[in-house]
């Protein structure tokens, strides 16, 4: 989905703020949030990191941007707990004494045209990233769509996340590290910069 998590290339965010000697967890509830999401995934009918990531991506965009990483995890954990019938939103709000924002519903369409074992490209091939905007989960970032790059490494096969996030089905495809010159992506003359993105076969087409 073209949601707020898909951040590559967005303007206006300002400086990266680095905290010196940062602890692994800042507050105890962060550990709880991390543990709870891993716990609810154990009861998920279709456990996968794709389903976990998608529960975060489905957050309200304004909430996503205004909350910390572990608040994302907490929101995803509560969403999955509600979706799998472990708790209700009303129970959460009564127990917590206030609003409990959850992620939005899945819209797993259109389904990608994936096929098991798909491996159409080779080292050195030029490939174009398809202009494809599914409402469901995908790991194809929007900033590269329509751009042409070169296959520099072949990995996998790995199950395509677009299917894995929404169903028990697993469709393994080859993934490729595709090298894009910065000029191809941004057209603003950054010299000597390449961006290398790992992409499933079905995200690509011949240029």
């Amino acid at each position: 989905m073209d949601a707020m998590h898909d951040l590559g290339g967005r303007d206006g965010f300002g400086a990266v703020v680095v905290e010196r000697d940062e602890p692994v967890f800042h507050e105890a509830w962060e550990k709880v949030a991390r543990g709870l999401l891993l716990a609810v995934m154990r009861n998920h009918p279709n456990p996968s990191s794709s389903a976990l990531r998608h529960a975060i991506e489905r957050m309200d965009p304004a909430h996503y941007l205004s909350s910390s990483y572990y608040e994302h995890w907490l929101t995803a954990a509560a969403t999955i707990a509600v979706e799998t019938g472990s708790v209700t939103r009303r129970e959460l709000e009564q127990r917590g004494g206030g609003p409990f924002p959850l992620s939005g519903p899945e819209r797993p369409e259109p389904r990608p045209d994936a096929s098991p074992g798909r491996s159409r490209f080779h080292l050195g091939d030029h490939v174009r990233v398809r202009e494809w905007h599914p409402h469901g989960h995908t790991r194809c970032p929007s900033y590269i769509r329509g751009s042409v790059g070169v296959v520099t490494r072949v990995d996998g096969p790995f199950p395509i996340p677009d299917v894995e996030a929404h169903s028990p089905e697993r469709i393994p495809e080859q993934t490729y590290s595709v090298c894009f010159e910065a000029d191809e992506l941004w057209h603003d003359g950054q010299r000597g910069v390449s961006v290398n993105v790992d992409l499933w076969d079905s995200y690509l087409e011949k240029p």
């Binding site: 590559g8 703020v17 709870l36 992409l199």
Partner: protein, 197 residues
């Protein structure tokens, strides 16, 4: 509630939400006893950048190991007893006088846990994820890592199953430093690629 504060404080909305979900799931038997502590403990003590630093130091002193590491990161890292979740498919990219590598995850915050631990907040926050693919030289310079125009910058967006570790260049003048001391020179940021040694 923070372990660091001994004075009671009124919980924030997010703390109340976390507590509410934890209580409800625990009452229903959906969080095994000790589970939350168990899934986090290793990352607070045993798993962190000191693991990746051992890999880097070994590669600096052992040319054959370095070749194996660059050819098959997962297997070479396992030689040092390291591996596990988010380290199942490792690729190590080498900094040279001609090339500087830097790692990002624009879609979430994929990170090689077995060698670097859990990522710092800045790696997970929007500014880094948005800007590193758009203006890497500018952002690296802002973070104190100026890359000469003559050096190519390769950004690696961890968008699929591969997790990346940067092999930083060995600092000059360390020819006689033993491996375990070398490992102490290797920083987390140099293995993400936002610092040089």
């Amino acid at each position: 509630m923070s372990d660091d504060h001994h004075q009671p404080h009124s919980p924030s909305p997010v703390e109340r939400r976390a507590a509410a979900l934890e209580e409800l799931l625990t009452e229903r038997g959906l969080v095994p006893e000790g589970f939350i502590e168990e899934v986090n403990r290793a990352y607070e003590k045993d798993i962190g950048p000191m693991n990746g630093a051992k890999v880097v130091a070994r590669a600096w002193v052992d040319a054959k190991y370095k070749m194996r590491l660059l050819a098959d990161g997962t297997t070479a890292i396992a030689e040092l007893g390291l591996g596990g979740a988010q380290g199942e498919h490792m690729v190590v990219v080498e900094n040279t006088p001609e090339v500087h590598n830097v790692v990002v995850c624009t879609l979430c915050s994929c990170y090689p846990w077995p060698v670097l631990g859990l990522p710092p907040a800045w790696y997970k926050d929007p500014p880094y994820r948005a800007r590193m693919v758009r203006e890497p030289r500018v952002l690296l310079a802002e973070m104190g890592c100026e890359i000469d125009e003559s050096v190519a910058v390769r950004v690696w967006d961890s968008s699929a199953e591969i997790r990346y570790l940067v092999l930083p260049g060995r600092p000059a003048g360390t020819e006689d430093v033993p491996e375990d001391e070398l490992a102490r020179l290797v920083t987390r940021d140099s293995m993400i690629g936002v610092a040089r040694l």
